[in-house]
Amino acid sequence: MKPWDTAALAEIEDLPGPGTLRWTPVRRHFDVRAFGVNAYTATEVGQDVVEEHTEESLGHEELYVVVAGHARFTLDGEEVDAPAGTLVYLRDPTVRRAAVAVDAPTTLLALGGKPGEAYSVSGWEFWFAATAKGESGDHEAAIAEIDAGFEHHPEHPMLFYQRACWEALAGRSEDALADLNRSVALGGEKFREYASDDEDLDSIRADPRFPA
């Protein structure tokens, strides 16, 4: 680990997030380990800067800082105007949150962690990064990203599920079936439901071992 480091936010390679979101993986870039920190940018008006989600699975509180531009948040259905310099603090992980850009470009910094617990790197970082690599055609690089996630979360059902998808797309049927069944064993019925209509898994769907 370097004792210290510096980078311009705009110089850190951004990756496609879900939908139109551009994700700047600040935590990954510096290997911050005490809290989660990422930036999100919309380059056009109306694009997402926060994808709709809750923090129920991680129990994180989140602080969004509007660094540049102008965003509009929707918090449990309520609209909140958020020009540059606005802080949006979500102490309750169950609040359904999303934000779009009102001006472009708009950049937010998002900080997160669970009060009372040491921070651990969130599993989603690995499948976001895997998706960015896999969708550009490099399925093996996507699998390697998920593998890195297992170092932090060896029993994470979504990591098994995501790896199964990339393995299926890479033609590694045996690995894909093993990982998919592991995700259902660890994560329960909802993973069986995800698999039921996920096109990524079509190459292994006819196999009798597929969790129907």
Binding site: W4, V32, V65, V67, A82, T86, V88, E117
Partner: protein, 218 residues
């Protein structure tokens, strides 16, 4: 606003510890964040110190990793003796708590956000945050308010050396030498670096001639 979320402007959160210095926006304290520390500092004029030189191993520090982001304006950081040009959008991450860091503003209005926490441990409020707000009362010479603030902080964190030190300063300035010497002795016992600070701190002028002072801080 609701008990589930809160929306604020950075500039609406704030306290001047000293009107001649950069303005402190104590975001974590104001919002009640529990998972990490967050503060912002805004310079009122060019050349002003934004981040005082410090490491994260001293008496008031929390051994935090720190991530700085220049939100607006233009700052110059000095990290481990190296100069870092930091226009708006620049990030500076200091992972090693022993590294010295500081920043000055190149322009009035330069604002720096800093987030911190300790690797591998649940977040705990850095000791300095407990007493920083009370330092403004020394600048305004409202020593009775300083005393009240640090007595309360001391009840909340009895083993906090920085709180004890500032409590002793207030007591010294208010002509309470017995209390001042007792609290200064406790501060130095918990954090010996306060011995050197006490030797030159003008807040202790009223008690420096006391024959007991050298025994405590000499």
């Amino acid at each position: 606003m609701s008990d589930r979320w809160e929306v604020r402007r950075i500039e609406d959160i704030g306290a001047f510890i000293d009107p001649a210095r950069a303005r402190w926006h104590p975001i974590r304290t104001e919002l009640g964040l529990g998972a990490f520390g967050v503060n912002a500092w805004r310079a009122t004029e060019a050349g002003q110190e934004l981040i005082g030189e410090h490491d994260e191993v001293g008496g008031g520090a929390g051994r935090h990793e720190e991530l700085y982001l220049v939100l607006s304006g233009h700052a110059t950081f000095t990290v481990d003796g190296e100069t870092v040009d930091a226009p708006a959008g620049q990030l500076v991450f200091v992972g090693d708590p022993e590294v010295k860091r500081s920043a000055t503003a190149e322009e009035a209005g330069t604002t720096v956000l800093v987030a911190g926490g300790k690797r591998g441990e649940p977040f705990a409020v850095s000791p300095w945050e407990r007493y920083a707000e009370g330092l403004q009362f020394f600048v305004t010479k409202e020593y009775d308010r300083a005393l009240e603030f640090f007595e309360r902080a001391h009840r909340e964190a009895p083993e906090q050396a920085g709180v004890l030190y500032n409590l002793a300063c207030a007591e010294s300035l208010l002509g309470q030498p017995d209390d001042a010497l007792a609290h200064l002795a406790q501060a130095i016992e918990l954090s010996p670096s306060f011995r050197e600070a006490a030797q030159t701190d003008s807040d202790f002028h009223p008690i420096r001639a006391d024959p007991r002072f050298d025994g405590v801080a000499g």
